[in-house]
Amino acid sequence: MMEPMHLQYELEGGNFTKAGFASSEIKKVLKQLNVDAKTIKRIVVSSYEAEVNIVAHAYSGIINAWIDNEKIVLHFNDKGPGIPDIEMAMQAGYSTASPAVREMGFGAGMGLPNIKNNVDLLEINSEVNKGTLVKFTIGLTPEMN
């Protein structure tokens, strides 16, 4: 039995050099906890997509991760323009990414659908001109998946 763990990272909008740092740190922790490779990939792919979304679309943000024996819970909280129509944003191919974001290799409109395909529980709340909160949970044991 391990002690529940809490990790926190700050993000800057527009800073693509650092995008992925938090997800990389989370990956290291999960590896140390001997989580199986396929589950780690589902977690870090989702985390990285959500992290890049903050860098690409918002002004600043905070990532909180809680890990216990059964699951990882991740919250991506940003200050930003918000998402006016979440249902539309969830559709594959929908993107408002700027040319600068596209130059970095993003803007296919696949990030949110990709998160949805990889996580066990997903909730997105957003307020226009305020920000967005993306929350998801992924089970760490085979029974949870």
Binding site: G105, A108, M110, G111
Partner: protein
């Protein structure tokens, strides 16, 4: 196919990483869209891309991709090399276009993901 063989076929240059005899590749995927790369479930693929940014390395890190081939002789930054080394990712670069690179690997038996 061994990465060594890929390197020869493409007339490529090893930017970083050790090409050992056990570096074996069955599948390749060619894309400049990182979210597209992030949908791939298969392991042991090689990524062909013209996107020569730090995010290409991050994407490989998250996707457990151990080899990236940068096409059209793009400049790989020190920062990218550092991050690739940290994650044991082999970086190759070749002068050929994405089309020619893909064509050569496909005709030599490297499998597509889809």
């Amino acid at each position: 196919m061994k990465i060594q063989k890929i390197n020869e076929l493409l007339n490529a240059e090893v930017v970083c990483g050790e090409i050992t005899n056990d570096s074996e590749i069955a599948f390749a995927f060619a894309s400049d869209l990182m979210s597209e790369v992030l949908t791939i479930k298969k392991d042991g693929i090689v990524l062909l891309t013209g996107l020569c940014t730090i995010q290409a390395i991050r994407t490989a890190e998250m996707s457990d991709i151990h080899c990236i081939i940068f096409v059209r002789g793009k400049k790989v930054s020190e920062e990218m090399i550092e991050l690739a080394k940290e994650n044991n990712i082999i970086l190759l670069k070749c002068q050929y276009s994405m089309f020619k690179t893909s064509g050569i690997l496909y005709s030599e038996g490297v499998q597509p993901v889809y």
